[in-house]
Amino acid sequence: MATVEIRNVRKSYGPVEAIKGIDIAIRDGEFLVLLGPSGCGKSTLLRMVAGLEGITGGEIAIGGRVVNHLDPKDRDIAMVFQNYALYPHMTVFDNMAYGLKIRGIPKAEIRTRVDKAAEILELGRFLDRRPSQLSGGQRQRVAMGRAIVREPAAFLFDEPLSNLDAKLRTQMRVEIKRLQDRLGITSLYVTHDQVEAMTLADRILVMNHGVAEQIGTPLEVYQRPASLFVAGFIGSPPMNVLDGRIDDRGEAVLVPGGQRLALPQPRPTDAGRAVKLGIRPEHLAVAAAGFSIEIELVEALGADTVVYGRLPDGETLLVRMAGIPTVRERDRLTVAPQDGALHLFDAATGRRME
């Protein structure tokens, strides 16, 4: 068990900067999720922690010890890969035992540790099987078993659930969460799936183009997205973003089509400023006055309904309503945001305006 500190870490491939200075201190036992679209550098960052990629600039410390120049095996970490990376010619037992064997741990101790991990992961019946004789979910459990038996300072997960089907993914997600709660080992988890990030993380690091857009708890990231990118990435369906302008007295936002939305607190200093206005689909509700939309599409998901509406100026507005649909396509509807549901972003930089 240990902390993991990432201090101003950079990575360049020739002239291309893939990671442009990331800073984060991960607490002992914390579950940190690195979230971002493909190509944002999240896997590269994880692989730098693992020692599989060189570090161009900055420092990485595991358990207080700078590991920049240590081999992966000396970093006291264990990694779970997306495609499992099990040794195909070894049994499940040997797969889990291999790392321990190399480290010269006595046979009896290996036996105990593997048996214990197999019990936690319910793999006891499969110890003599080859990976090819297991299902995807079982293989991923073996990969986790291989990490557990090492009793490392930190677990590194590189999109471990991406190769599984949707149902199994949900099930394994719960298992990973339970496992981490039980073992309390510091974990870094890379994913592009916001549901995994929201459900697993103690904190989420949202990455885009090699920079940290936001670091925060899942609810912070959802409730107070630090930038338009985060606002659009977290939440499904994504947040509505409209062009707007703060009125001359700094009391309301004007949106095209003449709508006027009062601000929770007046912002006289920002009077007249161009902004992006974000409203989550689930924070819009039918009201007497507000946005008037023509319904283009209704998606009934059972538990709730997503309505695709068109504003008079042609922009799309998504509304999420509870329960089964009560409206139909081509209906007209007036919706308004709930109190405190407005997110303001700077139109030029995309950063949140507090």
């Binding site: 020692g51 599989l52 081999d71 992966p72 095996k73 890969f81 495609n83 195909p88 291999y98």
Partner: protein, 282 residues
Amino acid sequence: MKTTRLIDLVPHIILIAGVLIFAYPIYVTLIGSTWDSGTIGRGGLPLWPGGQGMANYAQAWAGEAGDRAMYTPVRTMMLNSLVMALSIALGKIAISILSAYAVAFFRFPLRMAFFWLIFITLMLPVEVRIIPTYKVVADLGLINSYAGLAIPLIASATATLLFRQFFLTIPDELLEAAKIDGAGPVRFFIDVVLPLSRTNIAALFVILFIYGWNQYLWPLLVTSSGDMETIVTGITKMIGTGESANDWHIIMATTVLAMLPPVAVVVFMQRWFVKGLVDSEK
């Protein structure tokens, strides 16, 4: 119903005809090895076995002399051929799997240059470089030795390329997982790469053993004493230039014996081969 059955028979008939055409010369050799030299010499070789089989094989196996000429006994030639073929097959596999491992898994300066150097040797068959090779082997004093027979034939671009292609299919994550587990390059090679290459090694062994066993030109050049004769060159030397009659019964017996080791290797290794394919874990 009947017509479909007839159509099903056609491939079988074609295959059986093909097998008969290929097997007939071997059958004639087998029959020839059981008659006396007189019968064969008159040109009227029957298509059924004669009674001289045991005597012919005994004479070929251990005899120093036939009825008309002096030979190296088959047991000596078989041993020489076996040592040469095994050395070539195992040597080629060892050298090429190591060089393929280096080229496929390591980044070192001039890596591609080395790869292309190996690749270019593919374009130079043994025959083209036989005179310089002979000079080198002769200067090293390896004429009439097992080392002289085998070593010049061990370098193999084909096997290196085959192993390299196979290694490229091993996912990078496996190497990375091994790195994190603490396996260095040597351990990774022994614990992961070698076991995964089993079926490739078996297939290559079959091909290379037969390649080594059938070598003709090189052993002809590099051996001059009867003790070092290989069986393929030995058989051709048994066949005279026309001044004397040949001991056809012994030649045929020798030929049949010469076929046995390659056949044994194919039959034995094929079981491994199929086993490797059946419980494929890739």
